[in-house]
Amino acid sequence: MAAKKFTPQDVSHIAHLANIPVTPEEEKHLAQGFNTTLKVVNELFDVSVKGVEPTHQVTNRENIFREDEVDATRMLPQDVALSQAPKTHNGFFVVDQIREEK
């Protein structure tokens, strides 16, 4: 696969996916930065990984669960849960109404 070359449009698309607001100047600047970064990253592919499985966790742990019990010590009172929110109303968090459906 040929190395990806970032354009400002690519940056715009990613910014949208990542829900990060960017200005057009930032898009240009970021595209350059990504290309520099990717040059280093592409050195990754100089090494052969034939037959190698990916490592997602290094602990070798499996089957770690909790019992189905209510842990009252961790539940937050309503006022604490809401205490850091910029906008609340009658026990709810408040956001401007979203137009787009999921």
Binding site: N19, F65, D68
Partner: protein, 445 residues
């Protein structure tokens, strides 16, 4: 000549598990009945900085059991993945779900003569609840995280359903099995069972290929609306196909008021969820014996129970089917049959079935022994049905023809004589006013 078309329908069904606690934390799992919003939250289900998920063992076991009940294979390795998208009801900006290694795959469900494939069953966490209101003149959305993190099972079926009736049958069967397993209330009104049909239409001549599009219909809140939504959507799509147009692949919402589906805009590109295995949760690895143990813990499922009832109790297909509608009913029936047998009452399972089905016995409040007692009393005359009483009266009149004609001629004493005869037949427990009424009616005619 118009082409013939057939619907190609599959389902995505979400079931909220009724565990005591949430999927990845110990918060109380009771979103529907919570007295206030945001009272069952903690750092984990609120998505606070630094919080970490730890999976609920029972939720996992129940998911596997549901998979087994749906005839699925249970792969010995499974894991949780992060599914990313931004929405106010998703506190972490990702949902912990399962992507390419779900807990159960490749099952099937029979509805009548047809078999509907079950593609997969997987486990994930529910999102918060949103409420759209106007506050101080501005349109806002209120968010309640009581539901955030509740264990949610997703069942995906193959697009094997061909009619709206089949769809309803399929959903009823899923509902029944989930209730048998006692893992969820599966109540569509309370949101513990949610359904989304994927609907396409294709020419019958193209039976072997999957249509090049599918429409997902959301916001269907009851079984009744499923049929209507599917019928509406199939008609809409068929009309387009007949015109030579291909319906757009999209999400549509069911509008209850207008009884139609409506396009939900803003869905042009397929979502990029950027799935990757959740590094916070060690993977799951089962042994064959563990799966066998879970399989052994399954209750007898409705289909099997129905067949056994047919064989063991000599019931009609219709009776057996109705008795196994709910586990409670079926268990009640068997317990009653056991009581009747051990007490040597001579009451047959068929009679018990009749009572339960036709007299709408409350299987929750009544005790099986109580029903048998009532049936015994009825056999001795106290509680005969109208038709049975009529039969008794008819035979009394027949056997006492002289008294019958005397009464017809106007002799009141004859009526008393006939009543006495009826009492003897009913072992002294005749409902007197009713019997008199019937005697007068029948003798008079």
């Amino acid at each position: 000549m118009k082409k013939s078309y057939e619907p190609v329908v599959g389902f995505e069904i979400h079931i909220e598990l009724k565990t005591a606690s949430k999927m990845f934390c110990g918060c109380k799992n009771d979103p529907f009945f919570a007295a206030k919003p945001n009272i069952y939250t903690c750092p984990v289900c609120l998505g606070l900085p630094g919080a970490l998920p730890v999976p609920n063992k029972k939720a996992i076991e129940w998911t596997i059991m549901l998979g087994l009940a749906l005839g699925c294979k249970i792969p010995l390795f499974s894991k949780f993945d992060r599914k990313h998208y931004f929405y106010p009801d998703l506190p972490k900006g990702y949902q912990i779900s399962q992507y390419d290694q779900p807990m159960a795959v490749g099952g099937k469900l029979s509805i009548g003569k047809r078999t509907i494939g079950i593609t997969r069953v997987h486990l994930e966490e529910d999102t918060a609840k949103l409420l759209h209101i106007t506050l101080e003149g501005k349109k806002v959305t209120l968010v309640d995280f009581n539901r955030s993190g509740v264990p949610l099972v997703e069942i995906v079926s193959e697009p094997d359903i061909r009619t709206a009736d089949e769809a309803k049958e399929f959903l009823k069967k899923i509902h029944q099995i989930v209730r048998y397993l006692e893992i969820s209330d599966a109540d569509m009104e309370k949101g513990s069972m949610r359904i989304e049909p994927n609907i396409s239409v294709r020419a019958i001549t193209k039976k072997k290929t999957l249509p090049p599009y599918k429409v997902e219909v959301k916001n269907i809140n009851s079984f009744n609306f499923v049929k209507r939504a599917i019928d509406y959507e199939v008609t809409r799509q068929t009309i387009m196909l007949e015109k030579g147009e291909t319906p757009v692949q999209e999400n549509r919402g069911w509008n209850e008021e207008r009884q139609e589906t409506v396009s939900q805009r803003g869905k042009e590109e397929a979502a990029d969820y950027r799935y990757f295995p959740d590094p916070d949760i060690p993977p799951l690895r089962w042994t064959k014996s563990y799966i066998a143990t879970l399989a052994g813990n399954l209750p007898e499922l409705p289909g099997v129970k129905e067949a056994r009832f047919l064989k063991t109790y000599g019931l009609t297909a219709s009776d057996a089917s109705q008795l196994v509608e709910t586990k409670k009913r079926a268990d009640f029936f068997e317990e009653a049959a056991k009581v009747a047998k051990s007490a040597k009452t001579g009451i047959s399972p068929k009679e018990i079935a009749n009572w339960i089905i036709n007299r709408d016995v409350d299987v929750v409040e009544t005790l099986p022994a109580g029903l048998i007692k009532r049936m015994q009393e009825a056999k001795t005359g106290l509680d005969l049905s109208s038709s049975e009483l009529e039969e008794v009266v008819a035979s009394v009149l027949k056997e006492n023809a002289k008294a019958a004609s005397d009464f017809k001629a106007g002799k009141q004493q004859a009526l008393m004589f006939l009543l006495g005869a009826a009492q003897r037949k009913l072992k002294g427990k005749a409902p007197v006013p009713k019997v008199l009424e019937l005697l007068k009616k029948k003798a008079g005619s």
